[in-house]
Each structure stands twice: as structure tokens, then as C-alpha cells.
């Protein structure tokens, strides 16, 4: 939970939505975040195939994979399947320097 979340005194009563459904991203559900190590990455794209949410994309113009954090739920399947262990799952609050 980030500090930008409102307190009980600030929210509307009765569970009234503060955003429309477009504003609620499934990516907000995650606890752990995938972090890539481009030196270890062999561009095999197994992570792209395994991601259940289609939240990892191959960007040919950049020559690397990219996570879509709006939809990544932090399940960790990519990190588990990566043959070279180029993806690790980390807690956002421990990632300050990265």
C-alpha cells in the first residue's frame, strides 16, 4: 500500500468508486515486481510466451523485453521460467536504487 491512498476520513461513503473502471488497473494488485537483468537476458522470449497476462512485450526497435506494469499482477511465472534467471521478483519498497 502506498502513502498516496486516502484515509477513511477522505473517501466517499458506501463504497462509491473514486475512479471509473478504466482507472482500476489489474497491475495495482501486485505485491512483487519483476526486474530484468539485460546482461543475463538471451532474448529467448520464453517470458513473453509464459506471461498469463500478456504483460511482457518484445520491443524489436529497442532490442529488449519490456514489462507492462499496468497489467503485470506480479505472479512471478516469468522469473520462474527464465532459463538464465535474468528476471527476479522484488518488493517495490526494496527497489529504491534500481
Amino acid at each position: 500500500m502506498s502513502s498516496k491512498e486516502k484515509t477513511w476520513r477522505e473517501i466517499a461513503p458506501g463504497g462509491v468508486c473514486s475512479k471509473s473502471s478504466i482507472g482500476f488497473l489489474t497491475g495495482d494488485w501486485k505485491t512483487y515486481m519483476p526486474v530484468r537483468d539485460l546482461e543475463k537476458c538471451t532474448k529467448c522470449l520464453m517470458c513473453v510466451l509464459y506471461c498469463p497476462d500478456g504483460a511482457i512485450r518484445w520491443r524489436p526497435e529497442l532490442g529488449k523485453i519490456e514489462f507492462d506494469f499496468n497489467f503485470c499482477k506480479g505472479c512471478g511465472i516469468c522469473a520462474h521460467e527464465c532459463p538464465t534467471k535474468a528476471i527476479t521478483m522484488k518488493l517495490p519498497e526494496t527497489m529504491e536504487d534500481e
Binding site: 477513511w8 473517501i11 462509491v16 495495482d28
Partner: protein, 411 residues
């Protein structure tokens, strides 16, 4: 100086009819209900008003109590003043929806003609039904007689609809003893009620579009109520409900006092009603109609020189802990009466709360619990005298041997 109250008319009504009549005068927009003994007369009488064109209410006949409450929540969410009534198994079937109503902050008023729960089947009065719903987020006010039923239903709409409360209210009347007993009831004029209850007030809320609009479902100002809240917000919504309950302690008293000025009728401080309690050495605490009998017994004992007193708990949710503590801390021995049983609990629901309220008192009375009247078992003056004589012994010995006792049970 004689006080002048508004002109009133005397009617012969039983508790259920008093409910129906009060709802009729309160200009209710929607009633969605399913009949069940001993609440049936409320629904019957109200459908008569609808059929005769005496009210403009949309009357929804549902196929179950679960649906009745669902219809009430939807109706109340559109800003319509909404009423329903139930009892026993019907209230139990509503259980799931009761939490939706309070969580959605829909100020529905429901009369519960308190009745026992199956099994074995029993249609008679006890308070097991609404006591089982004490954690559902509804305000609970229990009345003593038909007059108080009428008065309290009118107050309930005002309490529920206050912006700082915005919670549904259960008015509990003892099945048959109050619901079916014909009494003289003073009623206000339609105009006086209309002025007192007024129009429903809607607080402004901020929608997903960032607009401040009245809190209601409205196609012109769309908002979504309670579709989901994940672990990052659900807790905050529940904390809001708890705050609303705390606010209700004040609002219940304000509305009651305003009504008392209008009608000349008041019930203690609206939360508790102490009776000859100031110098009492032994006292009984009860909820609902039993207090009528208890008052008679207190009078008789007082005439014999016994310093007996009574505390009627009128508002059970929110629980007026501070008031209860203040009222009982100087009594030597207290018996708390429960018209429901909390199986495996260390006493009944009322006992646990009252005893808990006294824990931080300067001086704590000796306290015992009596379960009484289950499934309509009659509890008369003799039974109360026995309780008071037990209390006399407890106060004398400065010791209570048995914490939980049963009134009128064959041992």
C-alpha cells in the same frame, strides 16, 4: 406551567398496526416486504393503505426476504425513503443483504417483530432473530409497547437519514406481546409527522468524474456504489461505518428530544431508560417489553421498602456503554436479562455487553445473567420477584455463585 404539545388523536392499535400507521404518515416512497408471523399485520395493513389509495408508496411484493432486502437497498440507493419489516426466519434469510444495506449506507427502516428461530419451529416471541444480527451494521432500537413503537418508527427515519449517520435502523418490538396486543396509542396529525420527518437529506459525494453530487443513483450524475474494495480500501470503508455508529449515539438522542418536545413523550435519554435507579441497591437490566412487567415489580418492592431499580436498554446498537456504566456503577447487585441465548457464550448478548461496560467503572456491581422467555415462555411478575430476591441474597453475601441462570425453566 403546563406544556403545550401538538394535538393528538387516540387510536386503538396493536404494535404492528402502529408500525404501519407510522410508516403511512412518514411519506415512505417504497415498501418491499414479505409477510411472516408475527410481523404479518404490518404488511397486510400497509397493503390495505396502498389498495385504498391512501398512500403513494410503491409496494413491492417479493418472493423472499432476501429479495425484499435487495429491493430495499436498490430503492434506498436511488434516494427513495424505504421501509420493510420482518422477523425470525425471514430476518435470517436477509442476513447477507443486511451487511450490503449498512455497507452501502442505505438508510432503510425495518420493523422486526421479534420471534424465535427454528428448530424446533416456534412462532412465538423472543429476541434471538435480531440479536443474531447485532454485528450487521444496523442501528437497533428496542421498544416497550405499541405507543413507543409508533413514536420510534417516526424517529427511526430521521436517525437513519442524518448525513453523519446514514445507516439502516431496526426497530425491535416483541412478537405478540407488543406486535399483537391492542393498546391506546396517541398519534400525531399527518402534518405534524410530515414536518417532523421532513424530506430525505442526501449528502454530497465526490464521484469518479470528480463531480460533487447528491449521494444517490442518478443517470444524470452516474456513480458506482460498492462494486468492490480490495485490501487497500475495504478496511477504510468499515472504519467509516463504525464512525457513523458513534455519531448515531448523539443523533438518536437529538431526534428523540425533538420528538419529545413535540409530542410530550420521551423514553429515558433515548439510549437507556432508568427507572427508580438513583438510589437502587439491586437492579434488573432488560430489553423490550419485559420492562413493563419489571416496572410494576419495582413499584411493589419499593412499597415494601426494597431499594429496587430497573434499567431498560432502549438502544442496543450503537451500545451506549458510557450511559450504562454511569447508570449501574453504584448498584450493589445487577441481573441482566437476555431474551436470546448465545450458545457456548459466557452469558447472553446483552449480559456480555453490559458487564463489559462496567469493567472500567469506579465501583463494579456484582452481576449475574438470566436467560428468559425463549420461544414465548411467559415471564410474569413472580419471575421478576424471584430475580430480585436472588439479587438481595447476592448483595447480602457479596458473592454470586452462578453466573448464568434461567428464568421459568424446568430444571
Amino acid at each position: 406551567m403546563k406544556k403545550v404539545y401538538v394535538k393528538q388523536e387516540l387510536m386503538a392499535l396493536n404494535g404492528d398496526e402502529a408500525v404501519a400507521f407510522a410508516v403511512k404518515q412518514a411519506d415512505v416512497d417504497v415498501v418491499a416486504a414479505y409477510p411472516i408471523t408475527p410481523q404479518t399485520i404490518i404488511v397486510e395493513k400497509y397493503s390495505e393503505y396502498v389498495a385504498n389509495g391512501e398512500v403513494q408508496t410503491e409496494f413491492v411484493c417479493t418472493e423472499s426476504e432476501h429479495s425484499a432486502m435487495a429491493a430495499c437497498i436498490a430503492s434506498s440507493a436511488t434516494g427513495a425513503r424505504t421501509f420493510t419489516a420482518s422477523a425470525s426466519a425471514g430476518l435470517a434469510l436477509m442476513h447477507e443483504m443486511l451487511f450490503v444495506a449498512s455497507g452501502s449506507r442505505t438508510p432503510i427502516v425495518m420493523a422486526v417483530a421479534n420471534r424465535a428461530l427454528s428448530s424446533p419451529l416456534n412462532i412465538n416471541g423472543d429476541q434471538s432473530d435480531s440479536m443474531a444480527e447485532r454485528d450487521s451494521g444496523w442501528i437497533q432500537i428496542y421498544v416497550e409497547n405499541a405507543q413507543e413503537t409508533y413514536d420510534t418508527i417516526l424517529q427511526a427515519f430521521r436517525i437513519a437519514e442524518q448525513c453523519e449517520v446514514l445507516l439502516p435502523v431496526i426497530v425491535g418490538l416483541d412478537g405478540f406481546i407488543v406486535s399483537h396486543t391492542l393498546e391506546n396509542v396517541d398519534v400525531l396529525s399527518d402534518d405534524a409527522v410530515k414536518n417532523f420527518v421532513g424530506e430525505r437529506i442526501l449528502p454530497d459525494v465526490l464521484t469518479h468524474e470528480g463531480k460533487k453530487v447528491p449521494f444517490k443513483l442518478d443517470p444524470d450524475n452516474p456513480m458506482t456504489m460498492g462494486p468492490i474494495a480490495l485490501p487497500n480500501y475495504y478496511f477504510e470503508f468499515k472504519r467509516q461505518q463504525e464512525e457513523a455508529m458513534k455519531n448515531a449515539l448523539t443523533v438518536i438522542q437529538q431526534v428523540h428530544d425533538e420528538y419529545a418536545k413535540l409530542s410530550g413523550r420521551g423514553y429515558g435519554n433515548a439510549l437507556i431508560e432508568p427507572y427508580k435507579l438513583d438510589d437502587a441497591e439491586v437492579a434488573v437490566v432488560c430489553v423490550g417489553s419485559a420492562s413493563g412487567t419489571a416496572k410494576t415489580v419495582v413499584d411493589e418492592l419499593r412499597a415494601e421498602g426494597v431499594k429496587a431499580g430497573l434499567l431498560r436498554l432502549r438502544t442496543f446498537r450503537p451500545f451506549p456503554a458510557a450511559d450504562v456504566q454511569k447508570a449501574l456503577e453504584n448498584v450493589k447487585a445487577v441481573a441482566v436479562l437476555d431474551k436470546s441465548i448465545s450458545f457456548g457464550g459466557n452469558g447472553g448478548a446483552v449480559f456480555l455487553e453490559v458487564r463489559h461496560a462496567l469493567y472500567d467503572a469506579k465501583s463494579r456491581p456484582l452481576m449475574v445473567n438470566y436467560i428468559y422467555g425463549l420461544g414465548g415462555r411467559d415471564t410474569g411478575p413472580k419471575d421478576f420477584k424471584k430475580v430480585f430476591s436472588d439479587l438481595h441474597i447476592i448483595a447480602h453475601n457479596k458473592r454470586a455463585d452462578k453466573l448464568v441462570n434461567y428464568v421459568g425453566l424446568r430444571e
